[in-house]
Amino acid sequence: MNTLSHLDVLEAEAIHIMREVVAEVENPVMMYSVGKDSAVMLHLALKAFAPGKLPFPLLHVDTGFKFREMIAFRDQMQKDYGFDLIVHQNQDGLDAGINPFDHGSDVHTNIMKTEGLKQALDAGGFDAAFGGARRDEEATRAKERVFSFRTKTHGWDPKNQRPELWSLYNAHKNIGESIRVFPMSNWTEFDVWQYIYEQNIPIVPLYLAAKRPVVERDGVLIMVDDDRLPLRDGEIPMQKMVRFRTLGCYPLTGAVESKAATLPEIIQETLVARVSERSGRMIDHDQAASMEKKKREGYF
């Protein structure tokens, strides 16, 4: 008898979740961050609704400091797959000249990402938004439901989560509430890589090691992606073989030194990794409960 492998099970679960959302809510949207989890989520969605078109648009909240290669990749994907793409930038933040150098990572992320996201969701009137977050990423995500409710102001109340029985999702919401849906909740980082490899899913080349100009700051390698990164005294960009385990705003995303220039090599490195993937994200470092705090405020 055929038994489904663990990836078959995870794929079927994610597709089931996506279809439930489309069947039960009025106006869904898919968060598309251009990273590897988004790539897998998009791939799953294409499978779920084929041969039809995606029954929802993709939304990219552009903070203005994304790696240039991410933007190029995003536009290429849109060309290849023909999905509806909404790109949103927080105009207020742009007008105020918000950037991570003068305002710090916290303020920059809050205004350009969290506030930008809220604006985009409100503007589109979206009542459900798919996200690629996984429970293995960090402690508060491990406790989040697949259907995670947000208040009118997009806040998360961890103590007031609905019980989620079997695979019966309750998508009924109150006025002003919206839902974040995480179809890949039960995937691990390794599952994502394995799936990308098996299904031959396109990803941004930044995940693969290459010689890139970087500076070392507070023990973290930051890529000099354009000339907006102010160099500190004595800092000279060095060419190093680096890759990224996670992608965000380039000044806030640490690279790791690596020779893994192919997907198999990355998988091999992931197997022996000694540092968790989010550690490259500076926003998680501030305090142990920082992610919970951010989520309460509406950071996805």
């Binding site: 492998s5 990836l7 089931h16 609704f49 079997w166 309750n170 198999p264 000694r274």
Partner: protein, 643 residues
């Protein structure tokens, strides 16, 4: 330079070969989801922390973070407090308890594991049940010093009722009872006695110390008397073959994929069985039959679909199946249909169950109105006694009768989880109120219904009053003029010698509905009572006017059904809210706006305007007198008012 390239390429090829071999090995791995449960201090989080630690799945930064937090908040002195690894939320770290279901991941050479870590406290039983509903195996933690507690028994009862296939009883903290075999045997015997009472067929007992690592991964050096598997050995080898694969094919239709006129696919997840192209299929509840024509995927068609897969199926004939219908193999052995069920319910809301209230029931991909018509008893999980009860409170498990508005397809939960498990959703707060398991269909009436005919019937009473009784149902926001117009109408009816009565919050709330909480979904219960009262008054020959917001179309449908369509006149008060606000001398809306009053239609709750009201008025356009005259003319036209 060229030599470097060659070395690099070689390394790369070696890596590719290794990874391919590795991924092939991964392909063989199966997935096991297990839940850990037990009382609050039995050591669940410690166990999971140790499994992650010893499986070498902690990253350096996580370990570093754990060490820092252990020093600050830990209970193990300078040692690592593994529990802190899994207690994620800030509130939990401070309180030292696990308040919500957490999902953890690790893998071994044989398997991938998802650990569902659930809270111990009794007030979080619902969270525990959530975890159990997704688990293939349950690890029940028992503190060797404490023995079986109420909570152990409650959890054993729930995992058994939910049909969790494998049960491990982990007798933990053996280091604190000198690793004594006598104590272990005594506790196993106690558990065996209890397990027999709840029809648990089998369990595996393992003596353990999660803190010290005895029998977690490695066999303990302190308990030579125990020759069974360690926990990890057991998790690695227990059978995950799922019996749903062997059951008849069932697939609830989740979504109909119809991108163009040439393609019509039924999308859903197969909940049991398998089906090959060419096999006969019956769509339930319509009973229409066809054959499986193709299984569509982006990577090309498949010949067969299996339990657990999410698929898109195309049939040979144009069958009109929609979301919630169930595609079944063949034409025999089909699911039953009923609108009346024996069920087991775990109540999950702070607000207790109200018998008769309408909920949304979600079962498979189907949502239907349903109510609990009777609670037969609550089960005391400690003594397993059945205690008669009128209601269910938070975390109570009871056996009840549930009735649905329309018949639905189902199978008993014990036969097929996905075909017999349901949730109840509150119509106003949208909260998930309960989980339920269908035992079987219930036949026969729930209540002793009147069989004896009354001598003086409704027609006779109406005749005596020279009128045709009916209910004029006013719906609209607060202060939209419902009672104004009803009063004007009643004065006119009275002048004509008609017998009538007005039901409005002023005479219903202080008496008949004084037990209801109007800031909750009790509003629906109130509408139900008013509808029944109106029907009785109609039976008595009276013309009734009701003045309640009744904001949801489903509530008005319910009222119409109870009262009878032919006796029901719906009046929609469509007064603009600015005018209502101007009428609001008591500051009702202002309070609602400040959040002091909740669930006020038009403020924090939706009002669903009737699509086909018999008459619609607005205080902007109509004076109460004019409106009353129009209604009177309508009643005359309907022949309600006698000559």
């Amino acid at each position: 330079m060229s030599q470097d390239m060659t070395v690099g390429q070689k390394a790369s090829q070696k890596a590719i070969a290794e990874v391919k071999a590795y991924i092939d090995a991964q392909r063989q791995k199966t997935l096991l989801r297990f839940i850990t449960c037990g009382s609050v201090d039995d050591g669940k989080s410690t166990l999971i922390g140790r499994l992650l630690f010893e499986s070498k799945l902690l990253f350096d930064d996580q370990l570093e973070n754990l060490k820092n937090v252990s020093k600050k908040l830990g209970t193990q002195g300078d040692d690592i407090d593994f529990a802190l690894l899994v207690d994620g939320l800030a509130a939990e770290r401070e309180q030292g308890i696990t308040i919500d279901v957490a999902y953890r991941f690790f893998n071994t050479e044989q398997r991938k594991f998802i650990v569902i870590d659930t809270p111990g406290h009794e007030q979080y039983t619902r969270n525990m049940a959530t975890g159990a509903s997704q688990a293939d195996l349950a690890v029940l933690m028992v503190d060797a010093r404490q023995g079986l507690t109420t909570q152990t028994k409650r959890h054993a009862y729930i995992v058994q009722a939910l049909g969790v296939k494998h049960i491990v009883v982990a007798i933990n903290k053996m280091d604190l009872v000198d690793y004594g075999q006598d104590r272990f045997d005594e506790l196993v015997e106690n558990f065996r006695t209890f397990s027999q009472k709840i029809d648990m067929e089998a369990f595996t007992a393992i003596p353990m110390s999660a803190l010290k690592g005895d029998n977690v991964l490695e066999a303990s050096g302190h308990m030579d008397w125990y020759t069974g598997p360690t926990l990890m050995q057991h998790l690695n080898t227990v059978s995950v073959a799922d019996e749903v694969a062997e059951k008849p094919f069932r697939m609830p239709v989740q979504w109909v994929n119809r991108p163009d006129l040439d393609f019509r696919g039924f999308a859903g997840r197969v909940v049991s069985g398998s089906l090959k192209v060419g096999d006969k299929i019956t769509s339930m509840p319509s009973g229409k039959t066809s054959k499986l024509a193709r299984v569509y995927t982006v990577d090309g068609d498949l010949d067969e679909v299996l339990a657990g897969q999410s698929v898109t199926l195309c049939l040979e004939d144009e069958i009109d199946a929609s979301r919630g219908d169930i595609l079944c193999a063949g034409d025999a052995n089909l699911p039953q249909q009923s609108d009346n069920f024996h069920v087991k319910i775990l109540w999950m809301s702070e607000q207790k169950l109200r018998v008769g209230r309408t909920f949304r029931m979600k079962i498979g991909a189907h949502t239907v109105n349903a109510s609990v018509t009777q609670t037969k008893h609550v089960i005391d999980v400690n003594t397993l006694q059945h205690i008669s009860a009128e209601t269910l409170e938070l975390n109570e498990i009871g056996e009840c009768i549930v009735r649905t508005e329309r018949p639905i397809c189902f199978e008993p939960y014990a036969n097929n989880r996905e075909m017999g498990g349901f949730i109840l959703i509150d119509k106003i707060t949208n909260a998930t109120m309960a989980m339920g398991l269908i035992a079987d269909a219930h036949s026969g009436a729930d209540l002793d219904q009147r069989t004896q005919e009354l001598t003086i019937d409704r027609a006779a009473r109406a005749d005596q009053k020279r009128q045709v009784p009916l209910t004029v149902w006013f719906t609209g926001l607060k202060r939209s003029g419902k009672t104004y117009i009803a009063n004007a109408l009643e004065r006119k009816l009275f002048a004509r010698g008609c017998h009538s009565f007005i039901l409005d919050p002023g005479n219903v709330l202080p008496g008949m509905s004084e037990d209801l909480d109007f800031e909750s979904s009790d509003q629906i219960e109130n509408v139900r009572r008013v509808a029944h009262m109106s029907k009785l008054m109609n039976d008595a020959g009276l013309i009734v006017m009701t003045c309640f917001t009744s904001p949801l179309s489903f509530e008005r449908r319910m009222a119409r059904r109870i009262i009878g369509t032919e006796n029901f006149l719906e009046i929609h008060m469509d007064t603009p809210i600015e005018i209502s606000l101007a009428q609001d001398s008591q500051g009702y809306f202002e309070k609602a706006r400040r959040g002091e009053i909740k669930n006020v239609a038009g403020i924090d709750m939706r009002f669903e305007p009737p699509k086909a009201a018999d008459l619609t008025f607005s205080l902007r356009k109509h004076s109460p007198e004019d409106a009353a005259d129009i209604i009177l003319a309508k009643l005359t036209e309907m022949g309600v008012l006698g000559g």
